[in-house]
Amino acid sequence: MTRLAVAKTYKLYIGGKFPRSESGRTYEVVTPNGAFLANAAKASRKDARDAVVAARAAFAGWAGTTAYNRGQVLYRIAELLEGRRAQFVEEIALSEGASTATATAQVDEAIDRWVWYAGWADKFAQVAGNANPVAGPYFNISVPEPTGVVAIIAPQTTSLLGFVSAVAPALVAGNTVVVVASEAFPLSAVSLGEVLATSDVPGGVVNILTGSPAEIAPWLASHADINALDLVGAGSLEWVDLQISAAETLKRVLPPETGLDAAVPSLGRIVAFTETKTVWHTKSML
């Protein structure tokens, strides 16, 4: 007699907890052939706002960790993912209809990107900042600091890799994020939330919404407590309207990227969500 499998309920990940959508809504996640896979939570405006509150609350703590510590925490995500490769490969193969080899390659690459970005945490400030030789008795130094709360519309065409490629660089500098997962392939994002919850990433640093990006994105774009908006996966939305809406509070905006190289690893992705702070320290008379 075969064993009856225990199906997982895919929920949101907000403030370190896994709530259902407050709206009670779900939508069906299906395979490319139309077979039922799971019911995912369909996040509402209220869920998005709750996620922003959680992200803002977590910001000071995450930004305040040492760069060395942030690097270790991000590396720990890679370690935990490595141990759960099989689960992610299976989810990706089912959702995307991909071969096991292709799904494996996606998971491996996602893990490697966590490693790559983890290594940047205590280095990017040395590359992006510098001392300035001002004409006067001052010690003048410019350093990059995290921008704040970053809202991300994750790439829509992959389950895990696009999601990781957009989220990891924003975390390196100490930003906290609210990310809307791929609408068609949300399962890996939620499972990654489970990895984050059991790693050392503090609750609220990454908040994951599943559902309709078209419905949620406008609320994030206009939200006054969000500092930056990454539209990397918003190419099929009315993204110009989102950018216009983001102008109201002068959010930093990254435009959509299409094609297979969306959100490819780069130092630019880290620096895009930083602010350069320049401090003039007065030197005393001897």
Partner: protein, 521 residues
């Protein structure tokens, strides 16, 4: 005469050789504008200085086309060494004509001659000198080898530091290899037009720099012009928003340097004499027409009374009057419109319950004037503690603990600058870490240097001007070939062996730019 009285020592505008009428500077020549002309006046006495052309849509088209032509045919092909030499030449010409430029600036803007002479114009020369040296060293700008210029830049600048803002915009743009069209503010076009003459003396190729005078509509046409690749704006947050909206969805790279409401935090162990001077410099420098002005004084409660008393004593010795007089500390408000806004917000401050104080000082009867003003008993919810006044008006608030000071300092949608006054070095470092502002001055205020990046957090805008960061704002990384070489080795190596979909995804070019809006369209 008591010991504080000074005999007048005015600079004479007779050293200027102004034309009665100025056209637009397009393609290396002054041409008539097709919009309605306007007068530029001296805000100190409302007297006409010159008639200024106004650029309409056709003029904007012509200027952008000239800049594009100069970019394609001349400037983008010129070696960095030669671009640098032009910039060095310009820097020297500015130094040679510094006195004349300072007088013109004070005449047109209303700022004291000692500021235009000792701060504005020397910094203008320094800015060109600094970026001149970058022109042939772009490989070291932080964007990887062989970075590219953007193309044609549209630059719109404010009236508070007319020629200095011009230098902040033009010097890095040219060093990076861009051509540009710049619009000075409506009320302060004069030094930009003198600068155009300097470009003629420097023999800068026609079309590399074009200067269009006009009002807000000219600026709007310029930044929204479809053939512009870069928009750089300094001015109000309201206009900055409008530009962010109008450039949405375009490939234009945008930097915005907008408003501020800086906290100047004075701890009870601060060197008090220096702090008083720093507070005065922070808010009364340039009549408070400074986006990074220290307009919110946060003073530790136990020294509040002493600081306020000493401030009042110091303010009583400030000389308000003729901008061309070398003894003048505080000059004229730049325009009737700005004066109206300062009066309005100050009246609101009183109406909301803050206590208003100004030294006894006789203001000229002609022109636009506002006495230095201090508000005490200000609370964080008062409009004078929240809104940018952009005038010689200081709001004084108190705090008890460093945590309270930081919370109050950050309690604003702006994030341009801040000041910290204390003798304790470790506290400076800790507080500076916590302030959400782009420029922080410790035991000093309102210092500027071409090597030092300047720009804001939050609604004070994005992008940096000055330093390596300011240069990067006018560059993009080299094309794909260059990028692949810079690709992270580990990731690249793994990908090669991967199945098609993922490999294709990853094999493409990584972005390595370090500019703030690195991948902005």
């Amino acid at each position: 005469m008591n010991f504080l009285d000074y005999a007048p020592a005015p600079e004479s505008p007779s050293i200027l050789h102004l034309k009665d009428e100025y056209g637009l500077f397009i393609d290396g020549e002054f041409v008539d504008g097709r919009g309605a002309t306007f007068q530029t006046i001296s805000p100190a006495n409302e007297k006409r200085i010159a008639t200024i052309a106004s650029a309409n849509e056709a003029d904007v088209d012509t200027a952008v086309a000239a800049a594009r032509r100069a970019y394609d045919r001349v400037w983008s092909r010129m070696s960095g060494t030669d671009r640098g030499k032009y910039l060095f030449r310009i820097a020297r010409l500015i130094q040679e004509r510094a006195r004349e430029l300072a007088v013109a600036e004070s005449l047109d803007n209303g700022k004291p001659i000692k500021e235009s002479r000792d701060v504005d114009i020397p910094l203008v020369a320094a800015w060109f000198f600094y970026y001149a040296g970058w022109a042939d060293k772009l490989d070291h700008a932080g964007l990887g080898p062989d970075p590219r210029s953007l193309g044609v830049a549209a630059q719109v600048i404010p009236w508070n530091f007319p020629m200095l803002m011009l230098a902040w915009k033009i010097a890095p743009a040219l060093a990076a290899g861009n051509t540009l069209v710049l619009k000075p503010a409506e009320t302060t076009p004069l030094t930009a037009l003198l600068f155009a003459e300097i470009l003629q003396q420097a023999d800068l190729p026609p079309g590399v720099v074009n200067i269009l005078t006009g009002a807000g509509e000219t600026g709007r046409l310029l930044v929204s012009h479809p053939d512009v690749d870069k928009v750089a704006f300094t001015g109000s947050t309201a206009v900055g928003r409008e530009i962010a909206r109008s450039t949405a969805g375009t490939e234009k790279k945008v930097t915005l340097e907008l408003g501020g409401k800086a906290a100047n935090i004075v701890f009870d162990d601060a060197p008090i004499d220096q702090a008083i001077e720093g507070i005065v410099n922070g808010i009364f420098f340039n009549q408070g027409h400074v986006c990074c002005a220290g307009s919110r004084l946060l003073v530790q409660e136990n020294i509040h009374d002493e600081v306020v008393d000493r401030l009042k004593t110091r303010l009583s010795t400030l000389r308000v009057g003729d901008p061309l007089d070398k003894n003048t500390d505080v000059g004229a408000i730049n325009s009737a419109e700005q004066l109206q806004r300062i009066r309005e917000l100050s009246d609101v401050g009183e109406a909301e319950g803050a206590e208003r104080w100004s030294p006894a000082c006789e203001l000229p009867t002609q022109g636009f004037w506002f006495a230095p003003t201090i508000f005490t008993n200000v609370s964080t919810s008062h409009r004078i503690a929240r809104e940018e006044i952009f005038g010689p008006v200081l709001s004084v608030l108190t705090f008890r603990t460093p945590a309270e000071a930081i919370a109050k300092a950050n309690n604003t949608p702006y994030g341009l600058s801040a000041g910290i006054w204390t003798d304790k070095g470790s506290r400076i470092l800790a507080v500076a870490d916590q302030l959400r502002a782009g420029v922080i001055w410790a035991n000093t205020f309102n210092k500027f240097d071409p090597s030092s990046p300047f720009g804001g957090y939050k609604e004070s805008g994005y992008g940096r001007e000055g330093g390596r960061h300011g240069l990067a704002a006018y560059l993009k990384p080299a094309a794909a070939a260059g990028r692949v070489a810079a690709k992270p080795a580990t990731t690249a190596g793994r990908v090669a062996a991967k199945p098609a979909t993922t490999a294709g995804r990853v094999a493409a070019k990584p972005r390595i730019e370090t500019s703030k809006k690195g991948t902005s369209k």
